[in-house]
Symmetry: C2
Subunit: 203 residues, 2 copies
DNA sequence: TTGAGTATTGAACTCGCAGTCAATAGATTC
DNA sequence: GAATCTATTGACTGCGAGTTCAATACTCAA
């Protein structure tokens, strides 16, 4: 009855792929090992053989999700912008575009986020990931503060970075459930807010 | 074997109270009817008798959660502030304070939010609630835009209101899992951002 | 006090799914 | 081609939880 054999690496990859798709489709709680196995074209026994438990499988899916998440990339074009505030604006725009382009991934990420409330291991992984994301904002935030230290008296670069992340997260949340969510309008509003700041700096 | 009898209203209230506390503690998926019944001091059969199903119970808990959510309240003090932007700032501060003061409620809300991805009925309830919340920002947002229509060219009041909500949601998300999340720093950063805007307006 | 009506119970049923493991067939080696 | 190895299977187990419902005890009106 056993089917064709394959190397461990290939099988794990197959199963993880399947698990990811099922998790995206059904949610974390709704993910059943049977369905993952069916999608991967193996028996459910094999899934448990490789990942030991459902929890192990979902943790592996989380690792994969985080590993394949596009790390915040501050491209050459953004770095070339002379004004720090306009750079930050460009980065926010980029990230919001990315959010709207992969809704499924975002939904799954939030699913893990919620699960992290009650699961220590998930929580730690998520926390690490978000810290990394926030840290990527750090240099730009520093530049912004350095340009006008007096106005931002008391604000730390990490504080400003965190606020940027908050804004992006908040947009993601609204975009997740609200079909009428207007990304363009959000971008426009954010843009104007930051232009506002820029105007103040220049003046 | 039946215990003391009570009116329907009292029993529903008892059970809902218990269900809410269990849901807060265990999460939506982790809520078991047995535990709810135990907390309410009734049999699990009675819980099903009144709420028909677990789903029915959780929907009732959601109704209760939303009904008892403090509706965004723009107090006299805030309305008295002459500058629209400073009013908005005060409102953001108020809401962030509120977030940090009831973390359990926020967590449960996000739990339903996640569930809403796959459950149409929950989704609709959540959507309605968030729209109401967003609408409450509308008047203030309008005032802000009216004060300087040219700079905000193209931005709608609803757009600005949505951005405000995004910011608050984003803060809530970070605060939920990150123990080191610095509300004070967030407030400070937000405050400075808005002061910035205010300075531009005055200038 | 009694009887009807009903709120309440809890045993029993069902169902789905995670996890186990001995058997097995494909691969590999000599 | 035989022997060995091991990846793979699928039947089996057990449990946890939602749901059902007939029995039961409380309430209240007559």
């Amino acid at each position: 009855m056993p089917g064709t054999k394959a190397s461990e690496a290939i099988r794990r990859e197959q199963i993880l792929n399947a698990a990811y798709r099922v998790a995206v489709h059904r949610g974390l709680q709704g993910t059943r090992i049977q369905e993952v196995a069916a999608r991967a074209g193996v028996s459910h026994g094999l899934v448990l053989f490789y990942f030991k438990s459902k929890r192990g499988l979902l943790l592996a899916v989380l690792d994969r999700l985080l590993a394949t998440t596009t790390i915040l990339h501050v491209g050459e074009d953004i770095r070339m912008i002379a004004s720090p505030i306009e750079s930050l604006l460009a980065l926010l725009r980029q990230e919001m575009d990315r959010l709207s382009s992969e809704p499924q991934r975002i939904r799954l990420t939030f699913d893990y986020w919620t699960a992290g409330i009650r699961d220590r291991e998930i929580r730690l992984k998520m926390r690490t990931e978000f810290q990394r994301y926030r840290d990527a904002f750090f240099p730009l935030a520093s530049d912004v503060l350095a340009r006008d230290p007096e106005r931002f008296h008391g604000v730390t670069p990490m504080g400003l970075a965190a606020v940027s992340v908050s804004f992006i997260n908040g947009c993601a949340i609204q975009a997740m459930l609200d079909p009428a969510f207007d990304i363009a309008q959000h971008l426009l509003a954010a843009e104007n807010l930051l232009q506002f700041m820029h105007g103040a700096v220049v003046a």
